[in-house]
């Protein structure tokens, strides 16, 4: 009985306690469902109520006093010498100086700002919060070292002054003192609010880039974009760093594209993208971007050069010739004009009766190698192309050229190597297809070119190659069928139309 009573009480209490504790859990499981409201067409409009109350405004200082003092200053009476300044209270003096400096900064009268603020002591400038204007003015009047000192003084007084930290970092970057800049900008990034963080990060990235710390620079640029995603220039800088880091081709291309998308008409971005595509063997894209750039900057020599090379690599002789002709007359340096003349002559199969150009730099070497190849000086060409391969910017193009100069076995090895490289893979498929055509391997050639088309469906070069290949292997009907499967805009291109006519003739003849 004793035992039963104790057990009964104990279990009863446990049950009660469990119910109490579980009640909350049970209630929390049955969460209130969302309120449902149906919206139907109303017959009458209801005025929306809104409360608008003004924010509390600061009370202004005596504006007339300030205006008069500034007027007199403009008339040649130095503000700090005026009696109104001398008799003013500390707060009023501060307000007067602030008003004057604000006016002068708006007018970009930096020398005058310096002159006025030099009349104050350093502690006055700091106390009256004019040290920043002082530092900016020094920087803008090219007094770099003094400006650096002024920023440093300000930061000692207030180590949370973001703008000062950023500006100091930028100045140090400019003065090529990258390590110091990096330290300063790191601090600036830590204290900067979101609105300024982007700039600080971008400046930090630049200092890292200049020290060849490319990975960190890339991270800093990317981080900067988190705060300022619409800054086309930063996207471009990031893309350029990624190029140096040999990041994934698709990713780098996308980064360039973002810079271009954000700022339509961004010639620099278009140019660099074109250059990158050329480097990575996407000649079609290089031409597209270069043409866009050229439309905006028709006299830009670099753009012409990119176009010239792209057309040449694509074996579009007439268009290439146009560009080389322009360069032959418009290039800045004499040697470059000479080189352009030689290449143009080669394209037009004319005899060269002007002097040779100096082989200075990779471009000249590449041109020489091409000329040698054209003149069947295969050994010389191979040697030069192999030399050029040492440069990362020309590696893949040189590799591509070497394909035609090497024996079959070596070609295969080069091709498979190219297939694993970080390049525009459609081009390597095209090269493979060309190789297979030479070896009379029809199926393999079609397979390769199909892959190229899959990677880049809008590339007319691949389309034409496939048509020609089908033609070469007398698959005329298949060629026609392929053409009819193309999009309308491609079907209506002149080159395709010509192919259609030719095929019709062949089919009719047979």
């Amino acid at each position: 009985m004793q035992v039963i009573k104790t057990l009964a009480f104990a279990f009863g209490f446990i049950a009660l306690l469990s119910v109490v504790i579980a009640a909350d859990s049970l209630f929390s499981l049955s969460t209130d469902s969302d309120k449902h409201i149906a919206i139907e067409q109303l017959n009458d409009e209801v005025m929306e109520q809104s409360e608008i109350k003004p924010l509390v405004a600061d009370s202004p200082l005596e504006q007339t006093m300030i205006d008069r003092a500034l007027e007199r200053h403009q008339q040649g009476f130095d503000l700090l010498q005026q009696s109104v300044f001398e008799t003013a209270t500390e707060l009023q003096k501060q307000a007067l100086v602030d008003a004057l400096i604000t006016q002068l900064m708006a007018q970009s009268s930096y020398q005058v700002v310096i002159k006025v603020l030099n009349q104050l002591t350093e502690s006055q400038r700091l106390a009256w919060q004019q040290q920043f204007s002082y530092a900016i003015s020094l920087a803008r009047t090219k007094q770099q070292e003094l400006a650096i000192e002024a920023y440093r003084t300000l930061l000692v007084h207030n180590d949370s002054h973001t703008a000062a930290a950023i500006n100091l970092g930028l100045l140090l970057n400019k003065a090529k003192r990258y390590k110091e800049a990096q330290r300063t900008l790191k601090k600036a990034v830590a204290i900067a609010p979101s609105s300024k963080k982007a700039k600080a990060l971008s400046a930090l990235a630049t200092s890292l880039q200049r020290q060849n710390k490319l990975e960190k620079a890339a991270k800093a640029f990317a981080h900067s974009l988190e705060y300022r995603p619409n800054h086309a220039a930063t996207w471009l800088k990031l893309a350029l760093v990624k190029v140096k880091l040999d990041r994934d081709y698709a990713m780098v291309s996308k980064t360039f594209e973002r810079a271009i998308a954000l700022k339509p008409g961004y010639v620099k971005a278009l140019k660099h993208q074109a250059e990158y595509q050329l480097m990575k063997l996407n000649f079609n894209a290089a031409i597209n971007y270069a043409k866009q750039a050229l439309a905006l900057a028709s006299k830009d020599e670099d753009i012409h050069r990119i176009l010239a090379w792209a057309y040449l690599e694509q074996a579009d002789k007439s268009l290439a010739s146009e560009q080389w002709k322009w360069l032959a007359s418009q290039a800045n340096s004499k040697n470059e004009r000479l080189m352009a003349q030689h290449i143009n002559a080669m394209l037009n199969q004319r005899e060269v009766n002007f002097k040779a150009f100096k082989i200075q730099g990779d471009e000249a070497k590449y041109a020489t190698a091409l000329l040698a190849k054209e003149q069947a000086e295969q050994l010389k060409a191979s040697q030069l192309f192999n030399q050029i391969k040492l440069s990362s910017d020309w590696f893949y193009r040189a590799q591509r050229q070497l394909l035609s100069l090497t024996k079959t076995a070596e070609q295969k090895s080069l091709l498979s190597q190219l297939a694993t490289e970080n390049v525009y893979q459609a081009e390597s498929q095209l090269l493979k297809a060309q190789q297979f055509v030479q070896e009379q391997e029809f199926e393999l050639a079609i397979g390769a070119i199909n892959q190229a088309i899959q990677l880049d469906p809008g590339n007319s070069q691949f389309v034409l190659f496939k048509i020609d290949t089908l033609n070469t292997f007398e698959q005329h009907h298949a060629a026609l069928a392929f053409i009819s499967s193309l999009k309308n805009d491609m079907q209506s291109s002149p080159l395709i139309k010509r192919r259609i006519k030719q095929l019709q003739k062949i089919i009719d003849a047979s």
Partner: protein, 824 residues
């Protein structure tokens, strides 16, 4: 007397219960809304911490703080800043809070308890895009810096994505939603305007929302941005942006980032409307902030006093009038229930804990800081106090000053820890550093004693019991259901009081005693049901009822007891000397010179503490019972400590006295020559009801203490024969060390022992007592001491309940034993 007491209490309990029921019934009609208020609801605790570092200049920081509207309710909010003053004002975009002042650095803490609800809108398919009053809706149709409504690229995009029927509101919104939801989500931290989102084909929440708004406005549908927080538990620094579109004068929410179409879930908190920044502040102040969000269940009854009938007693309103925060009020309301909980744990379950009501205090603190943090804080403070005990133990300080010193140490250590936690984490244990620290310091004292005694089992049990109690108290204190019950039905306190009174007179066995006395209970028959006595019964029906306070004090005073017994011609060991204060120590030398063998004892000691047995003299001093050499200086120190109260169970100064060494009777010495055996006789109302012989072993260091490994031998009350012997719960027949047979031994002078025990009961007047008797070689049985609260382990030794042998000789006694049976 018993009958009256019993029925009076029972009537009082019934009165409480009926009063509660009556109040409940009377007010039931007025409480139509109570049922809804009783159900706990989900709410969010939002904490915003802002910090800055400004080189001592004027600082202004503004932010939008949560405000109440049809979808969300701010139940409470507080703001704290050391140097900046706060001002609140409603603006067109939301409720702005601004803090201003001059300070080099500071942190601002804003906290709010918020309840939100989710909305889902069903848009009729027949809704059409109509011409609307351009002037009225101008703000929500025009272009802005970041929402480039008129831009050709926006128009071109719309051309691309517009549905076939671009007059149908739902189709238009679906097209816009589809496009903006599908563009890549990149968590840009800066501002992404609509055009950037379009050009990049990627955006964060603000870019997507702006693009959505631009496209909606392009179609003549008023749209606005909304900023706020997604209330996911944890810490975060990011806010969120979504938008609302006005259809038929109703603002409908959309969130293309998290894929909500015409819907806003309950865990979205609106802070502002419009294309605004959440924070604006003075430049160059290294501003930083963090949101911390916790989800919890609350009792709406604690917050919604306006819904309650004003004519009735409203505890929540009263507490709010006292400016008690809701969370504090919640703890306050449930504390009586927790006290009942502790009572039940102790008296029904037999759960041990450090401190009786300490778990309630720590549980309350845990309700503020969280269970894990609270338990960690509790363990940390116990550890610090324990280390303090160890550090100060060697200084031999008196108890109270030692505890005071430890409190100081614990306070300093806790303060340092608070500073550290404040610097490096968001954990707040500030509230834990209140009075529980003091209570916990006392607990550490008890903990230290247990460790000193190597009572590992008891230590583990007590620690486990403490942890369970704290957790259960925490669960009850944080139970929104319970809070609601006590707010809405304060008459429930009467029920709690009735339960407490009932527990106060409940003398049944504890759950742990069912295990402890399992063997004895198995022997129980219907006739002797109720014979087993548990602690509850012992304390209430025996000690409290049969022993007066004065008699208990006399029993605790050994010298006074001896004097009393001597007066009644009951043999006791003689007293050689007594030392009340240090002046008396001048005589010590003389006694030490005179006696070779003696025993020094504290007058108010217990459990053998402070007793020194000297067997012989040696060249260096004296030889103790365990063979160690003891110098005169050590003896002097022991006596001084005793006088100082070190061994006193009354925690005050005491008397040390010297007795002659007792030489044990041969019959017992043959069994156990390792120390003095003693016979414990339990007497109830002058009847001897139980007896046992406690036999020292080598393991018990010569002490006749069952907990320390002594044997317990059950004695037949009629014959004095040892019937059964236990060693650590195991039945044995022979002494484990001497191998002498124990069972079957008949104690000499048994009838005299029984008479002496009864005589002691007559002499002192204790109705329930334990008489400790030893057998001297020459003098025979001597009473060593009387115990006013004898333990109950004797029942296990005898395998029989205490009341089994009780023979009622008076009607009152019959009632007594019957009442015991009934109550049991």
């Amino acid at each position: 007397m018993w009958k009256q007491k019993f029925s009076w209490l029972f009537r009082f309990e019934l009165l409480l219960v009926f009063t509660a029921i009556a109040i409940f019934s009377y007010f039931q009609q007025a409480r139509e809304q109570s049922a809804t208020l009783l159900k706990p609801v989900q709410s969010y605790q939002l904490a915003l911490r802002m910090q800055f570092n400004s080189a001592d200049k004027d600082v202004n920081i503004s932010t939008f703080v949560p405000h109440s509207n049809e979808r969300q309710q701010v139940l409470t909010d507080t703001s704290q800043s050391n140097y900046l003053a706060q001002s609140l004002f409603p603006s067109y975009n939301g409720l702005v809070s601004r803090w201003s002042g001059t300070a080099a650095s500071d942190s601002i803490d804003y906290k709010a308890q918020i309840q939100t609800s989710g909305y889902q809108f069903s848009l009729s398919d027949s809704l059409e895009v109509t011409d609307i009053d351009q002037q009225k809706w101008q703000n929500y149709l025009q272009a802005s810096e970041h929402i480039q409504v008129g831009h050709p690229e926006i128009a071109a995009l719309w051309q691309q994505i517009q549905p076939d029927d671009n007059n149908n509101v739902v189709k238009v919104l679906e097209a816009i939603y589809q496009y903006t939801a599908d563009i890549e989500s990149i968590p840009f931290k800066g501002t992404t305007d609509a055009l950037t989102a379009l050009r990049l084909g990627a955006a964060s929440c603000n870019g997507k929302s702006r693009l959505f708004v631009a496209l909606a406005r392009h179609n003549g549908i008023p749209a606005r941005l909304v900023g706020g927080l997604v209330l996911n538990e944890g810490s975060k620094k990011t806010s969120h942006q979504w938008l609302e579109v006005n259809i038929e004068n109703q603002w409908i929410p959309f969130d293309p980032t998290n894929h909500y179409f015409a819907q806003l879930p309950a865990h979205y908190l609106e802070l502002y409307r419009g294309d605004k920044s959440l924070f604006t502040h003075t430049a160059n102040i290294d501003f930083d902030y963090q949101f911390t969000i916790n989800k919890n269940l609350i009792s709406p009854a604690l917050y919604q006093t306006s819904q309650v009938d004003d004519t009735r007693f409203d505890i929540a309103r009263l507490l709010q009038e006292l400016h008690l925060p809701a969370q504090t009020a919640a703890v306050f309301l449930v504390l009586p229930f927790c006290a009942l909980l502790i009572t039940v744990f102790r008296n029904l379950f037999g759960l041990k804990s450090f401190g009786i009501f300490m778990p309630m205090l720590v549980g309350s603190a845990c309700a503020f800081v969280g269970l894990t943090v609270g338990l960690m804080g509790f363990v940390m403070i116990v550890v610090i106090a324990f280390i303090g005990q160890i550090a100060l133990h060697g200084l031999n300080l008196l108890k109270i000053p030692r505890l005071a010193a430890i409190i100081t140490l614990v306070n300093a250590a806790t303060f340092s820890l608070l500073l550290l936690l404040d610097q490096f984490s968001t954990i707040e244990i500030g509230l834990l550093s209140l009075f529980p620290v003091i209570i916990i310091t006392f607990i550490a004292d008890k903990l230290y004693s247990l460790v000193e005694q190597r009572s590992w089992m008891e230590l583990s049990q007590t620690m486990a019991g403490s942890a369970v109690s704290i957790i259960l108290c925490y669960l009850c204190i944080s139970s929104a259901t319970l809070q609601g019950i006590f707010v809405l039905y304060p008459e429930a306190y009467l029920l709690v009081l009735a339960a407490q009174v009932y527990m106060g007179r409940w003398t049944g066995l504890r759950l742990t005693e069912l295990v402890r006395f399992k063997q004895v209970l198995q022997n129980t028959t219907e006739q002797n049901d109720g014979a087993v006595v548990g602690i509850n019964k012992r304390n209430r029906d025996f000690v409290a009822s049969l022993n007066s306070r004065e008699d208990l004090l006399t029993a605790a005073d050994k010298l006074a007891t001896k004097a009393l017994l001597q007066k009644h011609n009951i043999p006791v060991p003689s007293t050689i000397a007594a030392f009340n204060n240090t002046n008396d120590l001048t005589e010590l030398e003389q006694h030490l010179n005179t006696h070779r063998e003696f025993v020094i004892k504290p007058n108010a000691g217990s459990q053998g503490k402070g007793i020194l047995v000297i067997r012989d003299k040696s060249a260096d001093g004296f030889v103790s019972a365990n063979g160690k050499t003891v110098s005169k200086a050590e003896i002097t120190k022991l006596i001084k400590d005793t006088i100082g109260g070190k061994y006193s169970q009354l925690e005050k100064s005491d008397t040390a006295y010297i007795e002659p060494l007792i030489h044990q009777h041969l019959s017992l010495n043959n069994i156990a020559p390792y120390g003095l055996c003693d016979i414990r006789v339990v007497v109830i109302k002058k009847q001897v009801v139980s007896a046992m012989l406690r036999i020292p072993t080598l393991g018990s260091s010569g002490k006749a203490n069952l907990h320390q490994g002594a044997l317990g031998a059950a004695i037949n009350l009629k014959t004095g024969e040892i019937e059964r012997c236990l060693c650590q719960g195991q039945v044995i027949t022979h002494h484990p060390d001497s191998n002498a047979q124990v069972t079957g031994v008949v104690l000499p002078f048994w009838s005299k022992i029984v008479e002496m025990s009864q005589a002691c009961s007559e002499a002192l007047g204790l109705g329930y007592m334990g008489v400790d008797i030893c057998l001297d070689e020459y003098l025979g049985p001597l009473v060593l001491e009387l115990n006013g609260r004898p333990g109950l382990e004797i029942q296990n030794i005898n395998k029989s309940g205490l009341m089994a042998q009780f023979q009622p000789s008076e009607p009152a006694d019959t009632a007594f034993s019957t009442a015991q049976a009934k109550l049991a």
